[in-house]
Amino acid sequence: MAEVTYLEAIRQGIFEEMEKDERVFVIGEDVGIYGGAFKVTEGLIDKFGAKRVIDTPISEAAIVGASVGAAIMGMRPIAEMQFIDFISCGFDQLTNVAAKMRYRWGQGVPMVLRGPCGGGVRGGPFHSQNPEMYFVHTAGLKVVEPSSAYDAKGLIKAAIRDPDPVLFFEHKFLYRRIKEELPADDYIVPIGKAAVKREGRDISLFTYGAMVYKAMDAAMKLADEGIDIEVIDLRTLSPLDEPAILESAQKTNKVIILHEDTRTGGIAGEIAAILGEKAFEYLDGPIIRITAPDTPVPYSPPLEEFFLPQVEDIVTAARKLAAY
């Protein structure tokens, strides 16, 4: 089997679901002949036609709103934001229309909204954002962010099959940088389940997205020093896999939370609150947050590298925590 990139894994997942289920269609800007700004939807229009691969005007509110309308009629729309940053323009439709409909009058909205998030590619303040918390904080939405090609394919499929609105964040730094062989058979990765990327005794490190790789690098370095890190890839941010979080924290008794998103109001807070209330007795050290600072994402390489959490930040903090 050939190795498949993270990007190609998403493309395959969409392709296979479209083949299997004629309710599934794709809608967004330049998703048709151009195949999307990053080419995630490349080739879909050739196979499925312009009826099911719909190029829209530059109208994120319409993209989301039309997806909601189609979803409640039994379709399974996959809406693309060209960059996830532009989700800000569909924010109202997502948080007020899509998120609340089932609760209000029982009508589910089975749609997927996907797009490239994250930094490290010198995209600057408007092409590098990590807006997941706006939606984690909104009841009625689910939010996932895979870190591997395997998870990307499995989660996009699970998202498409899910009866509720799922936001699928694709870390653009990973698109073509990682590869792996994927199973030939159909599979999904269930929404709501974290993955233990590395078992460890000393410290639980909760993270997701591109940061998983920095966490693993740090864990490797720390292993040489005899510090044994358990790396948990959250994979789903809403609903959080609370049992997995508690279980790991109860085992290691020490916690680091790492995210690329900015600090204040980031998901580290939510995890700290869960732990603070439900694992208080198990904690043998402070809960360490390693995050981007509270600024927009800067563009210039040295600035962006300073902004993004680095392996060294993790290593230093873990050493101190281990010694605590």
């Binding site: 039309a66 309308g69 089932r102 509720d164 609903p239």
Partner: protein, 362 residues
């Protein structure tokens, strides 16, 4: 039975000449229109009474004077078509089969209402009857109803969708994005823009610098026509024609209904900002009295017939009000659940968290 004559007020925006169409409605259908308009008004009057008795929870939004627009347009749709009302389009969902008792229960926050007390007024839907309740954010339902129309096309159904919007709502970005998307996709979406002179306290002149909402049609490359929104038959006829055009691929279609909101924005609004003369002018054009005059003068019905309709409605509403008054409020804990299809233990988890079981071990 020969169709009765009725003056059509619809005018083609780009031609600007009045024209008289032959109404295609049977006597029964005309009486239907009367029934729905009258039911709408009388139901709202009951709601007003209940509101004054503090039995309505929250605000009450009347459609007084606008019943013809909601009823005439909704009546023009086919059984599989789908509409989304504004708060002032109670008449539209009544035509689609919404039950007065459900509306009453909603306004009174009762468990028996269609949302179990979770949402208010006409914020509910029933796809089997072909209506989708709005959200409060004005404009948002335009893209949504474009999407419903898109789904219809993808599913090979020849349905039409209808979304209502106010002279205020057309100023939203969502209106623009939704209608433009529908235009590019040639979706079978009818948008009825209700020019009722006000958006809350704001006169339409502060909402747009153009004169007519229909002026916007050309900018989207779609047909747009103006209709006398207080003329139920005219509204019906134009909507029917718009639906045919949409069904045969000529959509979307923008209809501007000229009408007047004859009450404040909601019952609490003192309405002081509306000039007396404007009210008087429009009071004379009341869509129901006007239709009654037509029905009797054209001998479609007698005063007695109309009285019978009114009596029937009154009896039905007595019962519906009784039902709603006797209905209970929801159980508090039904606030939980139903956020996702699969609850996945969320309700239980929330209850545990309310008790802090994990922290205190009980």
């Amino acid at each position: 039975m020969s169709a009765p004559q009725f003056k059509m007020a619809s005018k083609k925006k780009d031609k600007n000449n009045d024209k008289t169409a032959k109404p295609s409605l049977s006597k029964e259908q005309l009486m239907d229109l009367y029934y729905y308009m009258k039911l709408t008004r009388m139901l709202e009057e009951r709601l007003t009474n209940l509101y004054r008795q503090n039995k309505v929870v929250g605000g009450l939004y009347r459609s007084l004077g606008q019943e013809a627009t909601a009823v005439g347009s909704a009546y023009a749709l086919g059984p599989d078509d789908i509409l989304s009302p504004l708060i002032r389009d109670l008449g539209a969902i009544i035509v689609r089969g919404a039950e007065p008792k459900d509306v009453l229960c909603q306004y009174m926050a009762k468990a028996a209402g269609p949302t179990g007390g979770r949402d208010l007024n006409i914020h509910f839907g029933d796809l089997s009857k072909g209506y989708i309740g709005p959200v409060s954010m004005l404009g948002d339902m335009i893209p949504v109803m474009a999407g419903v129309a898109l789904a219809g096309r993808l599913q090979g159904k020849n349905i039409v969708t209808l979304a209502y919007i106010g002279d205020g709502g057309i100023s939203t970005g969502a209106f623009h994005e939704g209608l433009n998307f529908a235009a590019v996709q040639k979706l079978p979406l009818i948008v009825i823009a209700e020019y009722n002179n006000f958006a809350y306290s704001t006169p339409t002149s502060k909402q747009m610098a153009n004169k007519d909402i229909a002026d916007r049609g050309v900018g989207y490359g779609i047909p747009a026509e103006i209709v006398d929104g207080n003329d139920v038959v005219a509204v019906y006829e134009l909507t029917k024609r718009a639906a045919e055009i949409c069904r045969s691929g000529g959509g979307p279609f923008l209809i501007e209904a000229k009408t007047m909101r004859m009450k404040g924005h909601a019952e609490h609004d003192d309405f002081k900002y509306v000039p007396k003369e404007l009210i008087a002018e429009w009071a004379a054009k009341d869509p129901i009295s006007r239709f009654e005059t037509y029905l009797t003068s054209s001998e479609v019905s007698t005063q007695d017939d109309l009285q019978q309709v009114n009596d029937k409605i009154a009896a039905m509403l007595d019962e519906a009000v009784d039902h709603a008054e006797q209905s209970g409020l929801p159980e508090p804990s039904t606030a939980l659940g139903g956020v996702y299809a699969d609850d996945n233990g969320q309700v239980e988890k929330t209850i545990q968290e309310k008790k802090h079981s994990a922290a205190f071990g009980d």
